[in-house]
Amino acid sequence: MTDLGYYCMMIAFLFSSYAFLGPYMGLSRKGVMLRSVENAITAVFVLLTVASIALLYALVTRDFQVEYVANHTSRELPLFYTISAFWAGQDGSLLLWAWLLSLFSYIVVLQNRYKNRELMPYVISVLSATELFFLILLIFPSNPFSRLPFVPENGQGMNPLLQNPGMIFHPPTLYLGYVGFTIPFAFAISALITGQLGEGWLKSTRGWIIFSWYMLGIGILLGANWAYQVLGWGGYWAWDPVENASLMPWLTGTAFLHSIMIQEKRGMLKVWNMVLIIVTFLLCIFGTFITRSGIISSVHAFARSSIGYYFIVFIIISGAYSFYLVNKRKGGLSSEKHLDSLLSRESSFLFNNLILVGGAFAVFWGTIFPIVSEAVRGVKITVGPPFFNKIMTPIGFLLLFLTGICPLISWSKATWSNFRRNFLIPTISSILFFIILLVAGINHIKAAISFSLCFFVFITILLEYYRGTRARMQLLGEGVIRAFVNLNLKNRRRYGGYLIHIAMLMIFVGITGSSAFSIEKEVVLKKGESIEINSYRITYSDFKIERKINKFIAQAELIVTNNEKQIGIMKPVKAFYLNQMDQPVSEVFIRMGLKEDLYAILAGYEEFGRTAIFKFLVNPLVLWIWIGGAAMTAGTIIAVWPERKR
């Protein structure tokens, strides 16, 4: 079965080569030959599906002669995690990348059977070039089917940190985003090659752009949730290079999502949009490179290898070719550039783009600075969380401010009176809100500014809903609920977008609250002793050691009271996995709440739990980050839901 998988990858390589070279050999000019190239894409999808099934089969049947299976599974590993071992290591996750790309390419072929026929040969060529790159990695340095010269009795098992439900969904979701951005990139390059530089390629890929952006965003949030629940240090974001690698394309992708609106509505910013999608694609590849090469020290150290050079070559070649094409077509990309007023939605979107891309650059610069420093000064330094927090806080404030003002300024021309009318209430109310926060005793100025800006944006969005609902009520005689529902249903893209903005506010509120007001205490407790943190009293009541399928767990029992009333029992765990008994893993216990999370870590114990070391944290408002993720999902669904034809 594993031989079959390897041969499938080899044959897929041949088909991808054919699909890549087809347009350059003049095949595209004949419809029949284009169909042939499209069939090659179908074949690649089928072959890589078989290869993926072969790897899954090897994992599930515990074929330990396959090196990848031996390195990432063991007989004790539950089936759930055995399947997720597919993307737990480098070789498997690269196969996942390649398979997803083949699936997306196949869907693109189906979607464009009867449209975009001029673009399609080159779209297929670009997609196949990317597929070829991953197949080269899979066939040569990173073959998931390579065999050991012997059959081990058992595998090494999975890294305990990866044995968490979050790991089932986080990597594939992130990869859906990374791979998804290849589609608009392929259409953009195809438009550059063919000279069809209008809005056609944007309209054809709008769904893909939103899908990829959403998946990347949700993948980031799932990763943050995994870190919060598994890494056991009480936080969800450590500005780790691998985390940063996923944030960068999301930021540029967000900028792209906004700036294409200007191209769609005004025909402007064509060059900028090309640059943005190229940069976003390159950052997606860069993200995979950072994750897989281990070139920068990371907490994701389970993913190191020497395939970095392949990525560097691919990034340089694709970047150079893409920007060469942009330069070659710059005449065709020029557009009527005129505005009636400095105060317009176009100008506010441009500044929004500047902040988003500036933010991405700040993250990029901080991430690679250790390498730059080593190259220039010969001294390797560390760029840790405090640096990013300091740099990104003002950038975040600016972004919030612009999120508030952008949607309410008219296209092309806005008057100052219109501007004042729209912003008087939000501005005064947010200043009052800021004052109330200070009077209420919040003397963390950055947090007060952040909350006030969130309030400002929220009021602007609320007013937008109010004005729209009122307009429907007065002109169409609808009731308030009907008017509100119809307002959302009749222009899903606009109001779905507003809901996504509200989701971002929730995330900002959660980040601000947990960053500014988190309280932590580390204590040694004997059984029966208590500790007070914030308004909670926590009593260490019991301790036990249990055997589970693939691990031993040491579990403490803590009785939690709040204002003399028992509100629950917390059971933090120290887990000793059979394959890594010397590296116990903390399984934290979190009591989640809208106001705050109570977070308990069993850091250690002595004398079978007679005394135990605990770390407790009170993290305010964290739940709003995850609620924001749910709201982002709802907003995206509303935004992409097809409008009913009128």
């Binding site: 509505k265 025909g267 907490v299 610069w365 390797k380 330094i381 004005r467 307009a471």
Partner: protein, 155 residues
């Protein structure tokens, strides 16, 4: 109403000044340990390293506590660790020499981009005065336009 803004801003500034508490500020272990990297290879800060009995983070925290009790400030404590482990122990680059580019470049790039955008916008507005207004794309939803028109009527 015209002066509301000014009064609100003045009031906010007064409260801002009032809210700053000049009381003596006690340094905590967490406030120092978040600026130092754990040396056990976990790639987390000393504050965040969660290894049970970590051979690096645990003694470093104890040392930080001891130095705070001796009355040392954050920068002095960090300097003690830098002399022991080298530059890599810092979680944040210094704001001197070449490292200043780490801090300055992101903001300089945003300021530079802002200047370029401002110049472009002025040029586009100047161009717009000589030309007819570009039509808004037909792609804009009919309903979107209708709502805008309706809102104008009401306002």
């Amino acid at each position: 109403m015209r002066y509301c803004w000014k009064y609100a801003i003045a009031l906010a500034l007064m409260l801002l000044v009032y809210s700053f508490n000049p009381a003596v500020y006690a340094l905590t272990v967490e406030e120092v340990s978040e600026y130092l990297m754990c040396q056990c290879g976990c790639n987390l800060t000393v504050k965040n390293c969660n290894h049970t009995g970590c051979p690096s983070a645990t003694p470093m925290r104890a040392e930080i506590k001891r130095l705070i009790e001796l009355g040392k400030g954050r920068d002095e404590i960090i300097a003690v660790f830098v002399s022991r482990y080298g530059e890599t122990v810092r979680a944040v680059p210094t704001k001197s020499g070449f490292n200043i580019t780490a801090w300055a470049l992101p903001f300089l790039s945003i300021i530079g981009g802002g200047i370029i955008i401002s110049i472009l916008l002025k040029a586009w507005v100047a161009g717009g005065k000589d030309k007819e207004k570009a039509p808004i794309s037909q792609d804009e939803s009919e309903y979107d336009r209708q709502i805008e028109e309706d809102l104008k009527k009401i306002d």
